[in-house]
Symmetry: C2
Subunit: 301 residues, 2 copies
């Protein structure tokens, strides 16, 4: 059964038990544009105890540098290597896992962060923000329409959350996916995400439209996939038995931790409620839960 | 095993065996903007033998009147009541099957034909082509953005093929679907459709993006659903044992016929190949197949 963090002793236990704290960001560190209470103090406390902090995010619209900047705006200093985003994980998957040659181009239906990370990994990208003509209506009769200029050098399609997603982008993406030799990568498959008190369609709904018309299933590089955990373990050499995953989503963050051998801490500042957690059978519940991440500081102080 | 139509005797057998000929249109009557060979002659031949013709289409972007016009442009005169489109079938479903009061409004993510058919059935529609602001980027901070003006009078969401589909439309559609009292209707679930030699995303890929973020499953009113067959049988009083469904798709047209008790005729002028048909186990193969619909005239002539 899940243990609720309600007092100083429980925080002490966490500090004794774990060396590495993996955090989801949205709904844990901040919510939309507001830093959550006592997050700065909690992270400082963990650093002062010599803990390794790793920020794991499925948001593929931002690059790692974007994340360092975003943390800085909240007064939080982190290192680029402490960030693992699904855009970065997707680029790592292409480059290191399937070893796609960098002569191959990448077709993007997703945010700017994807382009940055693939460019940094040495790939040329197409689609995404580089083709504003995709914001116009599809025109099969226009020889300059990207649907009539399919580039045979494309070796992978990468799909993530894309607020510019439209029928035109979907139609061109489909042309690439119809070639079975083109690899199909999804940054993550979250169905929704919360923003300003509204639930918005997540990467999963963009990915599913592409999967539906192409009748293909992507490799997902976001939480809860094993690929992201492997990359983190490799990069930081962490001992999983001394590591804990902190997040606000049962089906991504908590699953990411538990299915990859980590203990887990659910915080209720994001998308989940205590009721949703209790509705799960016991084996699927997180190791711990807390009203907010800042409780670790508040209760320990 | 499927019988290939190769000679006059087989056409005579068809004429003796069936009183009612149900046709898919795209890929059977025409392909894109070209009428297929000997279609006019074949339909004339069938009418001269007193056959009832019914045109059944999953294209929800056109109303029945649009279809009558489209046939006319090809030199084919048909009656509005001979057309069953998935836009019309969706409106019939809302009005006659679930008896949604006409005081309720309909939120549309789909083509103009949907608006016409729902308006003709007595409903006010929102979304669709009536809100050009949906073509702009989603802006949560704009109080005039449709996402901030959710209308509580909406009683159903209808999703179909929408070449103006974008993230903004998807996000607003999700807000309506999050209310479990709002009915969720899909015009059809075809994954793709052919246009000018290119395979484009079909209604199914638009529907799947909405289903994915809302985690809901729609009622589908297109082929191969039983709902459309019930409406046709009711309207025309046809005897199913004396009826045949002619189409170019195994998973919609042929399934629509066979799973609703009709014999079937596959034509190879659309999306399917003879190989794809033969790859099916015998019980799933169509009753007959022909290179094209016009063979009925050519071979009988």
């Amino acid at each position: 059964m899940s243990t609720k963090i309600t007092g100083k002793q429980q925080v002490e236990d966490l500090l004794n038990k774990y060396d590495n704290f993996l955090f989801d960001c949205d709904g844990v560190i901040w919510l939309d544009n507001a830093l959550l209470p006592y997050v700065i103090e909690t992270l400082q406390m963990l650093r002062s105890h010599g803990k390794q902090l790793i920020f794991v995010t499925n948001n593929s619209t931002k690059s790692r540098d974007d994340y360092v900047d975003k943390f800085a705006k909240f007064g939080l200093t982190i290192l680029k290597k402490e960030v693992f985003g699904s855009a970065y994980a997707s680029a790592i998957y292409a480059k290191n896992i399937i070893k796609l040659p960098t002569e191959k181009k990448i077709w993007i239906m997703g945010g700017k962060g994807l382009e940055v990370e693939f460019n940094e990994a040495g790939y040329q990208t197409l689609g995404g923000s580089s083709m504003p003509e995709l914001d116009k209506e599809l025109d099969l009769s226009d020889s300059n329409d990207p649907i009539n200029k399919i580039d045979p050098a494309v070796g992978a399609v990468v799909v993530g959350l894309d607020t510019h997603m439209n029928y035109h982008r979907l139609a061109v993406t489909l042309q690439y996916l119809r070639n079975p030799e083109v690899v199909y990568i999804a940054t993550n498959i979250d169905a929704t995400y919360p923003a300003n008190g509204i639930i918005l369609p997540g990467a999963g709904s963009v990915v599913d439209s592409a999967s539906s018309c192409s009748q293909r299933t992507p490799v997902s590089c976001g939480k809860p996939s094993k690929g992201m955990m492997d990359a983190i373990v490799e990069a930081h050499g962490i001992d999983k038995s001394r590591s804990i995953m902190v997040g606000d989503r049962l089906n991504t963050d908590m699953k990411f931790g538990s299915s990859n051998g980590l203990d887990t801490l659910l915080v209720l500042t994001g998308i989940e409620t205590e009721e949703a957690m209790r509705a799960l059978d016991q084996s699927s519940q997180p190791t711990y839960y807390a009203a907010k991440l800042g409780d670790l500081f508040e209760l320990h102080h």
